[in-house]
């Protein structure tokens, strides 16, 4: 490798390969939405729309018929709806972690993946928000979740973590949306300047908020971006902590543990990065983004998955230790029952996918192997779904009163609603690819060797 391919002085491999110039970056990234979409896009969009219809149908039938169409039974009053909610919110953690925390930590490699990781976050949070909204059964009074003055004097119970959820997730969504949009502004201005039709000029001109790229604008912009990163950082940690209190505040054995907030946050980052890896492998292949999302980027994400995977593994074992150490037989039963009881199959899927699979990433050649990380990232998200399944279902199905124990199985409507939520996710994601820059052009240019003007003479060697 020649010196031009290293960021001078840092010894780090280059973040953008392929001898790109600023102009060629713009051409490449803008070319994706400006050009004709490949056939697979239309096929994928058709599939995603069909799944979206499945979601609409399942929700319509749910509203018509009530939550009785789901597999909920007497001890298991929380089923797939809450599992899917937690799972989707968890996936929605990577985006803001990448954009805010890694930004504050000066991790410059984030620039290649932050744009679509943030988009993924927004779409995942939208998918997540569907489930608490529809699981209330009487969806027409869902506004009761919000503190709105009304003639019933009804007021949400602020001591309930379910209400904290409403605020935590909606705050997170708002902050992520603002952060995403702020990051988009310079790129939207590029789109505006390149737009060939009047309609596009008007739309991108409106969205670019009059961006001219002047020195003063950049100064304000970067300050705003820094502030938003500061605001978003605690949210990354707080959202899933609050979600975990839905469980931890209750007194059900297996839920009532103080380890839940950090354990949930680690799991959320784990699954979020897995989803980013899955999507970025597909996107870099189909849109030839290998120069921007290099193997080094993917390897770094795999390292984060290895770390967070071990954190959840630690949490799984610590739950058992504390159950034993507490001397509380109900607590002990809850965990032994998880591993050996009626849901042992789900428990061992969870352990295999979440604890064993990431161990592959100890090996550099596996960490840098696209097929391995693609399959591993999907398995990790399967495992994370089963983690929530194990937590929600095994604790409820076998609770304090053995006479009411029951086995929970989903109905076709549970399954269709969950599959349908992928329709929403991929519809939005494909539209995002179709219309917006999937790589943060302005930021990527800032980490290219050419951006370091003081090293011009070396870079032009």
């Amino acid at each position: 490798m020649s010196t031009t391919e290293y960021i001078i002085g840092s010894g780090e491999p280059p973040l953008v390969t392929g001898n790109h110039t600023f102009a060629s970056v713009t051409e490449h990234i803008c070319g994706i939405p400006e050009g004709k979409q490949p056939t697979w896009w239309y096929l994928a969009f058709g599939g995603a729309l069909s799944l979206l219809m499945v979601l609409a149908g399942s929700i319509g039938y749910l509203i018509w018929e009530g939550t009785g169409i789901w597999g909920l039974n007497n001890p298991v009053g929380w089923g797939w709806a809450i599992i899917n909610f937690v799972w989707w919110v968890g996936i929605g953690h990577a985006g803001t972690l990448i954009s805010a925390i890694l930004f504050l930590l000066r991790q410059r490699w984030r620039t290649s993946i932050n744009r679509f990781a943030e988009a993924m976050t927004l779409f995942a949070v939208m998918c997540a928000l569907i489930f608490p909204a529809i699981h209330v059964g009487r969806i027409w009074v869902v506004y009761w979740m919000f503190p709105l003055p009304n003639q019933m004097s009804m007021w949400p119970n602020f001591r309930s973590p379910l209400l904290w959820d409403v605020f935590a997730v909606s705050t997170y969504f708002t902050a992520s949306l603002l952060f995403w949009f702020t990051g988009l502004i310079p790129d939207l201005a590029t789109f505006r300047d390149r737009a060939r039709t009047k309609i596009k000029r008007l739309i991108f001109g409106f969205l670019a908020l009059g961006w001219r790229g002047g020195n003063r604008q950049w100064r304000h912009y970067e300050l705003a971006y820094l502030l938003l990163a500061g605001i978003s950082t605690p949210l990354v940690l707080s959202v899933h902590s609050v979600v975990s209190t839905d469980f931890a505040i209750s007194i059900i054995p297996g839920w009532h543990t103080t380890i839940f907030p950090p354990y949930f946050v680690a799991g959320a980052i784990f699954s979020g990065f897995a989803m980013v890896v899955t999507l970025s492998i597909i996107a870099r292949k189909l849109y030839h983004l290998e120069d921007f999302i290099t193997l080094n980027h993917l390897e770094k994400m795999n390292k984060i998955m290895l770390l967070t995977g071990m954190m959840v593994g630690y949490a799984y074992s610590m739950e058992f230790f504390i159950a034993w150490y507490s001397g509380n037989i109900y607590e002990q039963f809850a965990f032994i029952n998880r591993a050996t009881g009626p849901y042992a199959w789900a428990y061992w899927i969870m352990i295999s996918c979440n604890v064993l699979v990431p161990q592959l990433f100890w090996f550099k050649n596996l960490r840098r192997s696209i097929p391995v990380m693609f399959i591993a990232s999907i398995l990790i998200n399967v495992g994370m779904w089963f983690e929530r399944f194990v937590i929600v279902v095994s604790s409820l199905a076998n609770d304090f009163l053995p006479s009411s124990w029951d086995y929970y199985s989903p109905t076709i409507w549970d399954i269709l609603t969950f599959i349908g939520s992928f329709g929403l996710f991929f519809t939005l994601f494909l539209l995002f690819i179709r219309f917006l820059p999937i790589i943060a052009m302005a930021e990527v240019k800032g980490v290219m060797p050419q951006a370091k003007v003081e090293h011009t003479e070396v870079a032009h060697e």
């Binding site: 003055p149 003639q151 019933m152 004097s153 009804m154 000029r201 008007l202 001109g205």
Partner: protein, 217 residues
């Protein structure tokens, strides 16, 4: 590069900001009033099959509420009187009146008169008249001055928050049990009333419930 937007578009943000404030404020005010039972329910005065006047009977003639609505002290329901109660008097008073023809027909054919209910509470809300009378809540507190109404109409919103207003602070709405049907009872000045309410509530163990299941059983 040519300007994309004409100059007047610079004013759009101002208009949007002002418009948003106006729309939010007026929508809130609109919903606040027009969607509330103060607007939708208060004043409801259906036409009854017989032009019966509470003003004449309860006001001018001074008949006690409980002469007709006699189950009110024993039952959840304040009954609508059967035709027989009307005929107790109207056998002898105005027996030839044209206005009373439906009453006499009802009595002769043994078919009840189809009175239209004025005060409606949701079926999901449990309400017990007898409990409220025993607790010293006068008829007038919820039904208003029925003794002054030719046609009975709804005076209070009967909304949940209206119920809760009294359940949370009942003191100013209580009176001696003997006075519950007195339409002209005057609540004493605040200090004496609070003293009375304190003693009365202790004596009768009056603790209005505020939990959901008190009314939504």
């Amino acid at each position: 590069m040519a300007q994309i937007f004409p100059k007047w578009t610079n004013r759009i943000p101002t208009f949007v900001a002002i418009g948003t404030v106006l729309i939010v404020v007026s929508a809130t005010a609109f919903v606040w009033y027009y969607f509330s039972p103060w607007y939708t329910d208060v004043g409801y005065a259906p036409v009854q099959p017989v032009p019966y006047s509470h003003k004449l009977h309860a006001g001018d003639l001074g008949i006690d509420c409980r002469y007709c609505h006699y189950s009110v002290e024993q039952s959840r329901h304040a009954n609508v009187p059967p035709t027989q109660v009307c005929m107790n008097c109207h056998k002898l008073i105005l027996p030839e009146s044209q206005k009373l023809l439906p009453v006499r027909e009802s009595f002769a054919n043994n078919i009840p008169i189809k009175w239209t209910r004025v005060h409606k509470v949701g079926e999901y809300a449990y309400f017990d008249h007898s409990a409220h009378l025993r607790a010293g809540v006068g008829c007038v507190e919820c039904h208003g001055r029925v003794d002054q109404m030719d046609v009975v109409h709804q005076v209070k919103p009967l909304s949940m928050s209206w119920c809760l207003d009294c359940h949370r602070n009942p003191d100013m709405y209580l009176r001696p049990t003997i006075e519950v049907t007195n339409m002209e009872y005057v609540v004493p000045p605040r200090v004496e009333q609070l003293k009375f309410a304190e003693d009365f509530r202790r004596a009768h163990d009056i603790n209005p419930p505020e939990d959901c299941s008190a009314c939504h059983r």
